[in-house]
C-alpha cells in the first residue's frame, strides 16, 4: 500500500473566514503503480488533498501514511526530504513552478536539492525531458518562451527529474487545447505503464482521463463521496450527478443505452470505438430478431 489516509480532516487557519478547500474525515487507500484521478468542483478540497501527499500540508486530525512516513495530527513533523523526492507534486500552473532562465537549470533544481552531483543532475534532466517527449534542444530554451503545452511538459519533467515513485498533478490540462490535453493524458498513462510510476491526477475534465484511470475518487465539499473504477462510477452516475458533479457525456450515453437494451450488468463502453462496436452487435441481434419474427 503506497498511500493511506485515516479519518483525515484539514481546516485552514482562520476557518470561519476561509472554509474553502478544507477536508473532512477522509479515508483513502492508493496502491503502488495505480493511475488515480480525483474529480470534483473547484473548492471541493481536491488541491488540499494533494498537498497532504508530500507533507506540504499536515492533517488537522487523523493520519496520513505515505510509504513509511507517517504524518499524524498533533505529532512531531517527520523528516520530509526523502518523501518529497519520492512523491513529486506538479502544480496547476507551470508559471508557479518554473523560475530559472533555462529549462536545464529548472530541471536540475530538484535533483541538486536532493543531493545529486551536477553531472548526475544534468543526466537526470535530459532523461526526464525525453520521458515527456521533448528532445535535448529544449535544454537551453527559456521556459517562459515555450507554448502552453510545452511549458506543462517541462513542469512535469522538473518533477520527473527527481525520479519520484509517485507523481501527483493538479489539473495538468487546464487551459490547454483539446489535442494537447489528450496528449498529456496519454503521456501520464505511459509514465504509469512504462516507468511503473503511481500517477495521481486532479481533474475536472473527466472524459480525457477515463480511458487510462484505474481508480476514481470524487470529492464534494471536502468529503470523499466516491471511490472506485470507471464502471462503478458509471453505475453511480445518477446519484453523483444529483449531488452536483458534472459527468462527461460518454457516461450518460452509456447509461441510457444500457437501460434501453438491458446492458446494465456489462462493463461500460466509454470510448466511441467501444460503444460503436457494442451498438453494432446490439443492432445485429435486433435486426436478426426482427427478421426472424417478420
Amino acid at each position: 500500500m503506497a498511500i493511506t489516509f485515516q479519518q483525515v480532516s484539514f481546516a485552514y487557519d482562520a476557518k470561519n473566514l476561509w472554509r474553502h478547500g478544507a477536508l473532512e474525515d477522509i479515508d483513502l487507500k492508493i496502491n503502488e503503480g495505480e493511475f488515480v484521478a480525483i474529480a470534483g468542483a473547484s473548492g471541493s478540497g481536491k488541491s488540499t488533498l494533494l498537498q497532504h501527499l508530500n507533507g506540504i500540508l499536515m492533517p488537522t486530525t487523523g493520519k496520513v501514511q505515505v510509504f513509511d512516513v507517517i504524518m499524524s495530527a498533533g505529532e512531531k513533523t517527520p523528516k520530509l526530504t526523502e518523501l518529497r523526492r519520492r512523491v513529486g507534486l506538479v502544480f496547476q500552473f507551470p508559471e508557479h513552478q518554473l523560475f530559472e532562465d533555462t529549462v536545464e537549470k529548472d530541471l536540475c533544481f530538484g535533483p541538486l536539492n536532493f543531493g545529486s552531483s551536477k553531472v548526475e543532475a544534468k543526466e537526470q534532466a535530459s532523461k526526464a525531458l525525453s520521458m515527456v517527449g521533448l528532445d535535448d534542444s529544449f535544454l537551453e530554451r527559456n521556459p517562459f518562451h515555450l507554448s502552453g503545452g510545452q511549458m506543462r511538459k517541462v513542469a512535469i519533467a522538473t518533477v520527473l527529474a527527481m525520479d519520484p515513485d509517485v507523481i501527483v498533478l493538479d489539473e495538468p490540462t487546464a487551459t490547454l487545447d483539446p489535442q494537447s490535453r489528450a496528449e498529456l493524458a496519454e503521456l501520464l498513462y505511459r509514465l504509469r505503464r512504462d516507468q511503473g510510476k503511481t500517477v495521481i491526477v486532479v481533474t475536472h475534465r473527466m472524459e480525457e482521463m477515463l480511458p487510462y484511470v484505474d481508480q476514481w475518487i470524487v470529492m464534494q465539499d471536502g468529503r470523499k463521496t466516491f471511490q472506485g473504477s470507471a464502471a462503478e462510477l458509471t453505475r453511480e452516475a445518477l446519484k453523483l450527478e444529483a449531488s452536483g458533479l458534472a459527468l462527461p457525456s460518454c457516461i450518460s450515453y452509456w447509461n441510457q443505452i444500457a437501460t434501453r437494451f438491458g446492458l446494465e450488468m456489462e462493463e461500460p463502453c466509454l470510448t466511441v470505438e467501444a460503444l460503436a462496436e457494442r451498438l453494432e452487435r446490439v443492432l445485429q441481434v435486433h435486426d436478426t430478431a426482427e427478421g426472424g419474427g417478420g
Partner: protein
C-alpha cells in the same frame, strides 16, 4: 441581404507586433449583427490578436475594421468602444473592483452615468446573472465561475451591442463552464448581442452559428460547426476534438450504420439516436 446589418466588416486587415513577424495578414471577413461566431485556431494562429483588434485594444497596421458601419479609427474609438465589451480568460485578472458591486460599477463610472442609473443597472444585471447575493463580496470569497459571472454582468451592464469572449471558459471547472455556456445561449436567443467567442470548447463551438478558423494569421475556413467537426484535417489544424456524439456518429458510419445528423448537441440520446437505431 435586406435587413441584415453588419456588426463587423474587416477588409484586408494585417497586424504585426514586430514588422518581421506578421501575426495577421490580409484578413477579410464580416459578421452579421445578432449572430454568434466562434473563432478557433491553434496556438499562434493569431486568434487572440484578432480578438484584441475586434475589441479595439490594438490598432491595425493595414486594412480596415468597420464596426456597425463606422470605421474604427483613433478619432471614432470613443464612439465605438462603448458598443463593444470583452470578457477575458483569467477570472482574477479582470476583477477591477474590490467588491462585486464596485466591479460592475467600474465601467458605468467611466460612462459618467448618474448614481441612480448606476445603482439600478448594478441591480438589474446582478439579478440577470444570479449574483445579487454576492454584491458585497471580495473576489477572494468567490469561485472562478462566480467571478466570470461578475465579469459578464460588468460587461452587460455597460449595455454593449457586441461582446467578445476571449477564452472566457477555459479556466473554469466543468460545472461553471456549463453554466457560462447556458448564459451565452440565453444571450444568443434573445438576439440583442453580436457575440464573438475565442474558444477550444467543442460544446461552445457547437452552440454558435458559425466558425472562423484561423491558421498562420489568415482565415483558413469559414464554416458552420457541423462542417468543422466532420472535417478531420481542419480539426487537426486547429487542435480541436469533436464532441462525443459526433465522434460516435462518425464511428457508427465507419461501421456501415447510417445515422442522420443530430439536431443538437443534447445529452439526451433517447429522443434522437434512439428512434434512428430502432426504426430501420
Amino acid at each position: 441581404m435586406e435587413g441584415t446589418k453588419l456588426a463587423y466588416d474587416l477588409q484586408q486587415v494585417s497586424f504585426a507586433y514586430e514588422p518581421e513577424h506578421p501575426v495577421l495578414s490580409d484578413v477579410t471577413l464580416s459578421i452579421t449583427s445578432g449572430s454568434w461566431v466562434s473563432l478557433v485556431g491553434a496556438n499562434g494562429s493569431g486568434k487572440s490578436t484578432l480578438a484584441k483588434l475586434l475589441g479595439g485594444l490594438l490598432a491595425v497596421n493595414a486594412g480596415k475594421i468597420i464596426v456597425e458601419g463606422t470605421p474604427l479609427l483613433r478619432e471614432t474609438a470613443s464612439l465605438i468602444m462603448p458598443r463593444i465589451g470583452m470578457v477575458f480568460q483569467n477570472p482574477d485578472n479582470q476583477f477591477i473592483g474590490a467588491t462585486v458591486e464596485e466591479d460592475i460599477a467600474f465601467g458605468l463610472e467611466g460612462q459618467c452615468l448618474p448614481r441612480v442609473e448606476m445603482v439600478s443597472r448594478v441591480q438589474q444585471y446582478a439579478e440577470k446573472l444570479g449574483i445579487q447575493h454576492l454584491l458585497s463580496k471580495h473576489p477572494s470569497e468567490l469561485s472562478g465561475g462566480q467571478k466570470q459571472r461578475v465579469a459578464v454582468a460588468a460587461i452587460l451592464a455597460m449595455e454593449p451591442a457586441i461582446i467578445i469572449f476571449d477564452e472566457a471558459s477555459s479556466m473554469l471547472d466543468e460545472q461553471a463552464r456549463g453554466e457560462l455556456l447556458h448564459i451565452l445561449r440565453d444571450m444568443r436567443s434573445n438576439g440583442d448581442y453580436t457575440m464573438v467567442s475565442i474558444t477550444h470548447d467543442a460544446e461552445e463551438i457547437m452552440a454558435s452559428d458559425r466558425v472562423i478558423v484561423l491558421r498562420d494569421g489568415t482565415v483558413a475556413a469559414d464554416v458552420d460547426p457541423d462542417t468543422l467537426f466532420s472535417d478531420d484535417a481542419l480539426l487537426n489544424s486547429c487542435r480541436l476534438i469533436a464532441p462525443y456524439h459526433i465522434r460516435l456518429i462518425q464511428e457508427l458510419e465507419r461501421r456501415g450504420i447510417k445515422v442522420p445528423p443530430f439536431p443538437n448537441a443534447d445529452k439526451e440520446v433517447e429522443g434522437t439516436l434512439w428512434p434512428l437505431l430502432f426504426n430501420k
